[in-house]
């Protein structure tokens, strides 16, 4: 069963008399274990897509199903609870709380949600992300890459079924960017999560199982050269 399903979804914004269709009617499904890239220039509607998929806003038409549950018509309070249970966000600007150290960032999640990652798995996660030594550091003491890795740890910590990453590599150099992508890839393949990465960085495509392109609000699956080359490299 698809973990994330969008059925005939569109989003229309009204600005005065004019209507802007930020996301044209589109259907989309993602299975567990898939790493999916959504690429497109800024203003193309990829953030709109991501926020609808993540339950941050409702579509104008259509339905959004997360793990089989229709969230389209839920109230914000219930959607917040779904986000907490099912979705991990890795945001462009780091989503860390400035006055909490790395360990406390994760403790905060324990305060608001039960059944988070077990201690053993968590240690594994720390090691794979290379942040085990940073537990006492505050976000302001971390480099951009370290912050992004902590953000990923935070997103994975609540055991979500879907991870939505908005430009997760924006502030990183190439090496770091590839590292981050590998981690997201691992999360998908090892733990059966759906990982969706929104980016305009085409270098990242090689890590992805599927690539969608979004232009002027129109989402289309891409069967590009990069895609094929990535398929080749997998075989």
């Amino acid at each position: 069963m698809a973990l994330l399903q969008l059925i005939n979804v569109n989003k229309v914004f009204k600005s005065g008399q004019t209507e802007i269709e930020a996301l044209k009617t589109t259907s989309f499904a993602a299975e567990g274990g898939e790493l999916i890239a959504i690429i497109g220039p800024s203003g193309s509607g990829k953030s709109t897509f991501l926020t609808i998929a993540g339950g941050l806003q409702s579509p104008s038409n259509g339905e959004v199903l997360i793990n089989g549950q229709d969230i389209t018509h839920l109230k914000e309070k219930q959607r917040a609870s779904i986000r907490l249970q099912e979705i991990g966000f890795v945001l462009q600007s780091s989503n860390l709380v400035p006055f909490l150290n790395v360990q406390q960032q994760l403790q905060l999640l324990d305060k608001v949600k039960k059944n988070n990652m077990e201690a053993e798995k968590l240690k594994e996660l720390y090691d794979s992300l290379g942040i085990a030594d940073l537990m006492g550091s505050f976000p302001s003491d971390l480099s951009g890459g370290q912050r992004q890795r902590v953000a990923i740890a935070k997103a994975l910590y609540t055991n979500p079924s879907i991870i939505l990453a908005d430009e997760p590599t924006a502030s990183l150099d190439s090496d770091r960017a590839f590292e981050v992508m590998e981690m997201l890839k691992k999360a998908a393949t090892n733990n059966g999560k759906t990982v969706i990465v929104v980016t305009h960085d085409t270098r990242l495509i090689q890590y992805c199982d599927k690539v969608y392109k979004i232009t002027d609000g129109q989402l289309k699956q891409e069967v590009s050269n990069a895609m094929e080359s990535s398929s080749f490299s997998n075989h």
Partner: protein
């Protein structure tokens, strides 16, 4: 609490400033309450000391003890479990360099309004008086001869008692003979004894029947009727109530600004699914801690200041009052935080993450 506490720990300067302001406000509240209490005591101490339920005065006195005058046999004690006759006369007492306004109470030694003598002995002969110990603090001593302003008589201090001021004047307790002499000087022997009132203890003031020319006044009404008493305590109470409002507003403003600064952080947390309720609770917890800290520090400062104040400042701390005021202060501060909660509820996680 987790979020609230860690934020304060990591932004010490910011939050110390808020605690500092709250400390000053609570310091002022406590000090004013002490002052209000002290000023009230200054007026009513001697009356409270009676531990009586009411006082019988003449109708035309307008509840003013010096203006009430009656014969000692005008009330026979009906309806009261105990009663005491009281004569009163105001004067200025002088002893060498020392000068003080005094209220002279003429009483019988066997009446319940006879004060406990804490130093020296009770009055025995005509002309002897037991004085309030605030006079001792002013430099008067046992055995001092007091010259009075209006008559040619002198009084001798035979002892001291505690907490006996009436209408801001220290009380001198003496016998009726003493009072008569002070009132009328040489002609005292030719005058009838007059008293100013009857102090009564009873289970029910309504049961006391008096002549039409007299009225039974409950003790509290009597105290509130003292010249300037209500005006003073109302003024100070108003100042205290205003400080409550001020502290609520100050805290509301501070927290509102802090909340505005944190909109993006809160937004990101909300995007991750942290509920508005959790964030709101965190802000309330923070406010509570800040207000509590400020109030406690203010309390300690007030008590500390109390020790260094000269006796002339009429400050008397009533810990029960202070406890209530402190609790109100914390409560209104938390009310101030509610203002920020609606901001938190309104934060759209979508905007916060730049969707």
């Amino acid at each position: 609490m987790f979020l609230a506490w860690n934020e304060m720990k990591n932004n010490k300067l910011r939050f110390s400033l808020i605690v500092g302001v709250l400390t000053l406000v609570s310091y002022l509240v406590f000090f004013l309450s002490g002052l209000a209490n002290g000023l009230e005591n200054l007026n009513k101490e001697a009356v409270v000391k009676w531990d009586a339920d009411g006082i019988i005065l003449t109708e035309e006195s307008d509840i003013n003890l010096p203006q009430s005058s009656m014969n000692p046999d005008e009330y026979d004690g009906n309806g009261a479990s105990e009663y005491a006759t009281l004569g009163q006369f105001n004067a200025i007492a002088t002893s060498g360099e020392q000068k003080s306004p005094v209220a002279i109470f003429g009483i019988s030694e066997d009446e319940f309004i006879m004060p406990d003598v804490t130093e020296g002995r009770a009055f025995k002969y005509t002309g002897e008086v037991v004085a309030d110990d605030s006079l001792r603090e002013e430099g008067f001593q046992i055995g001092d001869e007091l010259k009075l302003s209006s008559v040619d008589e002198t009084l001798t201090i035979s002892g001291f008692t505690e907490d006996a001021r009436f209408n801001a004047s220290p009380v001198l307790y003496g016998s009726f003979e003493t009072l008569q002499k002070v009132r009328f000087g040489d002609s005292a022997e030719n005058r009838d004894y007059k008293v100013n009132g009857f102090v009564v203890r009873t289970g029910n003031l309504d049961e006391i029947e008096v002549a039409d020319s007299l009225q039974v006044v409950p003790t509290q009404t009597f105290i509130e009727g003292m010249p300037g008493y209500s005006e003073q305590s109302l003024t100070l109470s108003f100042m205290i109530y205003f400080l409550f409002i001020i502290s609520a507003v100050i805290l509301a403003i501070f927290l509102y600004v802090l909340t505005i600064q944190k909109i993006s952080i809160f937004g990101v947390m909300k995007a991750q699914g942290v509920s508005s309720g959790y964030l709101a609770k965190s802000v309330v917890a923070q406010t509570f801690l800040l207000a509590l800290a400020g109030t406690i520090i203010g309390f300690v400062l007030t008590i500390a200041t109390g020790y260094f104040l000269p006796a002339a400042v009429p400050v008397a701390f009533n810990y029960m009052d202070m406890l209530i005021y402190g609790a109100v202060l914390v409560f209104v501060s938390v009310l101030g935080a509610l203002f920020s909660i609606q901001t938190i509820v309104k934060i759209d996680p979508l905007e916060a993450i730049g969707g």
